[in-house]
Symmetry: C2
Subunit: 492 residues, 2 copies
Amino acid sequence: MKLRVKDMDIETGGILIALLNENDARKLDLHPEDRIGIYHGKKKAIAVLDIAESKKACPEGEVGLFEEMLDLLNAKDKDEVEVVIESKPVSLKFIKKKLDGKRLKPKEIEAIVKDIVSNELTTIELTYFISACYTHGLSLEETVALTKAMIKTGDTLKLNKYPIVDKHCLGGVAGNRTTMVVVPILAAAGLTVPKTSSRSITSPAGTADTMEVLCNVCHSIKSVEKIVKKVGGCITWGGAVNLAPADDKIIKVENPLRIDAEGNMLSSIMAKKGSMSSTHVIIDIPLGKGAKIESRKEAEKLSREFKEIGNALGMKIKVLITDGSQPIGNGIGPALEARDVLWLLKNDKRAPQDLRKKSLMLAEETLEMCGMDRKIAKEMLESGKAYKKMIEIINAQGKKITDPDKIKPAKLKYEYRAKKSGKIIHIDNGVISRAARLAGAPQDKSAGIYLYKHKGDKVKKGEIIFTLYADIKQKIEFAVDALKERNGIIIT
Amino acid sequence: MKLRVKDMDIETGGILIALLNENDARKLDLHPEDRIGIYHGKKKAIAVLDIAESKKACPEGEVGLFEEMLDLLNAKDKDEVEVVIESKPVSLKFIKKKLDGKRLKPKEIEAIVKDIVSNELTTIELTYFISACYTHGLSLEETVALTKAMIKTGDTLKLNKYPIVDKHCLGGVAGNRTTMVVVPILAAAGLTVPKTSSRSITSPAGTADTMEVLCNVCHSIKSVEKIVKKVGGCITWGGAVNLAPADDKIIKVENPLRIDAEGNMLSSIMAKKGSMSSTHVIIDIPLGKGAKIESRKEAEKLSREFKEIGNALGMKIKVLITDGSQPIGNGIGPALEARDVLWLLKNDKRAPQDLRKKSLMLAEETLEMCGMDRKIAKEMLESGKAYKKMIEIINAQGKKITDPDKIKPAKLKYEYRAKKSGKIIHIDNGVISRAARLAGAPQDKSAGIYLYKHKGDKVKKGEIIFTLYADIKQKIEFAVDALKERNGIIIT
């Protein structure tokens, strides 16, 4: 059918969509989400059909096209194009198969992932896939296939090194900025540590947000390669490299219902490690009330699965189930956490000892996994070699600040005091994180919370337990209101 | 946050969407599909958030709004509005619950249906619901609750009559236009038969398409009421009345993967009967190779479920499992089927006897269910009273044509002849339907197929089995190609 182009003057940013009037669609026997081929001279593109019920959106005899499509076809408003029916992507059959509870073959999963990455699937189709993975679960073989397909369809880092070390934490614990201590220790010990981290989604800071206080974290895969070749390690933002891009699209569909299918989570994490060509990966599963994982059984199940997938991908995996029942470190929020990390690396007495202990343990376990002496971790930290390495990394990434005493918290503060004397038996990750976020973290880098006390500490009535920092009064008020709503500090 | 309106100059036609620049969204800690409230003076509306990654789509400091939203807020381009965070609809919790394999309570299902109808749910959220219904199935209690909620959220017909009779056919059989014979027979017998029918989706004609050859079928609920009060029955298009509107939205999400969850199908059918206040419903399940239902076990299971739901809704249900192994009637396509129906009602010898037999049987069973004498069906037909009633219905709906001999097939034809002598042992519904569609049906009313032979008939080599009719040569060719691809007529 010959139609005239209607320039919709919008980018869709995702899948290619074409709009037909409902009467034209009926003539071609087409339904929403069918695929149509559009020819303009020798150019051709395939789009997903959307049907306009009103003349205003798209009148009869016209086909509404968006920016990306006009570029592809080299077409403009009023040009004549030929519209033909195309078959749907074959991956839809495999999605239906999974929805029907059957196992998918690696080739079938690869076809789905390829179509996700190249924007061939509509949101409805992708949602059915995620829903099917969630309700029926993924077998180990399926998870491995998904992981491999995600690696294959994204950028990969190729370093001519062995071992290549990486770490991952399942999260849910406020503070807990171990990565920024462990990476310089391991790199100082001579290991290769190309670490990419995420920004916060629901926490007051991600490692990328915190590292960004000290230096630039937006580096392309080429830039990461250069930095790692020069200084042995990096801590950059994963979003700036195109690792496993299927994952971002999957997460977008998971978010509305906070779906977190186990198979998809495992693939998401492992695909990023695989994309960096990691050979030895240490995984930290914080366990405890308020952490992401609250049952030991679940933690142990995940632990086994990480190892099995690692095995299938030819990676060595060590999983540590750690105490996730309270925040780790004193600072919560990008600037306050970055200051903790620098104090720690400088062996300053203001450094939080819980963060020091956990980071050293993680570094020791990694060294051991790589066949090296555990003692090297402490040596690197105490000799200042880890600090020196951190400065090298910061400089290589584009330095902003390296002196912890020049990192200042936000100007307004609120002191949270003990309501009675006694022993602190619980500091709730959820409540602390929420208050720090309401104070402005991670968007306001210097906003957040500084903890003076931890679980097990004795306090007197009126003693300061933590200070809340924010840029504007209203944010302090929001955070204080949230603290009143739910008591996050339990004293007995 | 105060933002300026950007008029997107598009209607979305469905849920209310607002577009924010990704930087503004980050400041408010918002993610795609979150809900935001928008205030303009005293007006307020809630929208689903979409995030623009480019300045072009939506620059910082602005909020992109579509036509429906601008109308609701009485706002125009550049107006200042206040944007606040809103919580998500509570029905999302119930969708998640179903996705986790748990049973939903009637109130929870009602909340979901209400939100579907009022466009509160996004496509992703609705897809999760349908996916969950499909993978976990719906219990009888859930199906009944879904049916009731669908009736409640749409228009209903209230007639002060008893009994009110309806019929439904599960479909998949070419031709098979029994409704247009059964309704006038029953109405002539004094029963109230407010029948709404669908247009074709994947077949060469729906009852609404065929009835439309004879008269207008687009009548509102008020118009249907008037017609039925006047002549006792009607055959109108279901799409013109707002019966169970949730169903249309559910079908849109089912279509891309051709999902047909049993619970949703049962609800969809029964909600429409309930909306018409039907008291006695006859359900025809054609069974056979090429029909929608191919296994007797499945047909019997559906039969039980229809009765159980009917029971819960206070309706009497009779289910007939009929022969669906070949087309019924001679004409396939709106005009050719309408001609068959009129010949039959006029007791013309050209009328297809298989259609006559089946229609009479359905009418007899319905009469019996209503406590009336089965013989009345034949009396109404043979006395011409059913034909007279049909003319009354046609006149009441807005007559186009009533003389079958004035209904002409399309001008071009192709004669399909027997390749050998023998007995016809199979005429494939799928192949016949596809050829009739490719010839132009139902869009071209006079296109289609006219069968001279049925299963069991003896043919000689070269004898005409059917004639294909189309308006243009290309459509004849398309249909003939399809007939060559797959042999639909088997002779032994």
